[in-house]
């Protein structure tokens, strides 16, 4: 049993792995952070690579040739999946931030109910929508081209 009193983030990075008493939403939180870091890493490279367009057609086509091939295509699709999850889960987080879909405050009377159960449909809906977006993106990446 870990004593976390006075140490709000005693678990550090290990807290990302264990949902613990926070439940499913904790894993969405972890995924939101991992996808956010991945998107940030991609974005930094993307800014630099795409700035080659300012030097004309040859520079652009050379830069694009350097980041082509099956490995980059799969990597870019992973970025697309990260985008789909981060975007849709981000909408969920904004709604919760604004107090939409979190349910009304209730009296703490036994048997206690957790507000996470009220928020669960939104979380499930967000994951399903992100999955649909990832599948449609996958069709565009691998089938329609």
């Amino acid at each position: 049993m870990l004593d976390v009193r006075g140490h709000p983030n005693r678990l550090g990075l290990w807290g990302w792995l264990g949902g613990g008493r926070w439940g499913t939403d904790r894993y969405l939180y972890t995924l939101h952070r991992l996808t956010g870091l991945g998107l940030l890493g991609y974005f930094v490279l993307h800014i630099i690579v795409t700035s080659s367009r300012a030097f004309g057609q040859q520079a652009w086509e050379q830069a694009m040739a350097r980041v082509s091939g099956p490995l980059f295509l799969i990597g870019e699709y992973l970025v697309f999946i990260a985008f789909a999850f981060h975007a849709i889960n981000g909408i969920r987080l904004v709604l919760i931030e604004l107090g939409i879909g979190v349910g009304k405050p209730i009296e703490p009377v036994y048997p206690y109910r957790t507000s996470l159960d009220v928020q669960r449909p939104l979380a499930v809906g967000a994951v399903l929508l992100a999955a649909v977006l990832a599948v449609v993106g996958g069709l565009d990446f691998f089938v329609w081209h």
């Binding site: 983030n9 800014i47 300012a54």
Partner: protein
């Protein structure tokens, strides 16, 4: 108070990104479905399509807006992750300085590229 307003800007930037990155992803990766802003046909990253977007004032301006919003959102998010791990005051200010420098440098590169690309496109 300062962190509260930074967080509010983080959320606002997220909504801005949702709009413009949503459009960007639609143009780049749902092109077979939507067919947006790719006048030359073929792949969205073919030079003719890239040139058409470089010529467009709308894309030049919104790329810079998206660049700024996404850099702030991403780097502030990274700062949150680092802060949550409980670094000391010295490390916190070092992280702040590095993120500021990296963010401003990347914003300078990206917005220069948007401006230079727009100028190049009008001469071609």
């Amino acid at each position: 108070m300062r962190d509260q307003s930074l967080w509010t800007w983080h959320v606002i930037a997220g909504v801005v990104i949702l709009v413009f990155l949503g459009l960007h992803m639609g143009v780049m990766h749902l092109d077979a479905l939507l067919g947006l802003f790719n006048p030359e046909g073929g792949h969205p990253i073919d030079w003719g399509n890239v040139l058409a977007r470089m010529k467009s004032g709308f894309f030049t301006v919104t790329y810079v807006v998206l660049l700024g919003a996404a850099l702030f959102h991403g780097l502030y998010g990274l700062r949150n992750i680092v802060y949550e791990l409980g670094p000391g005051a010295g490390l916190r200010s070092a992280v702040n300085a590095v993120l500021w420098i990296a963010g401003l440098a990347l914003f300078a590169i990206g917005s220069w590229a948007a401006w230079a690309a727009s100028r190049l496109a009008t001469t071609l």
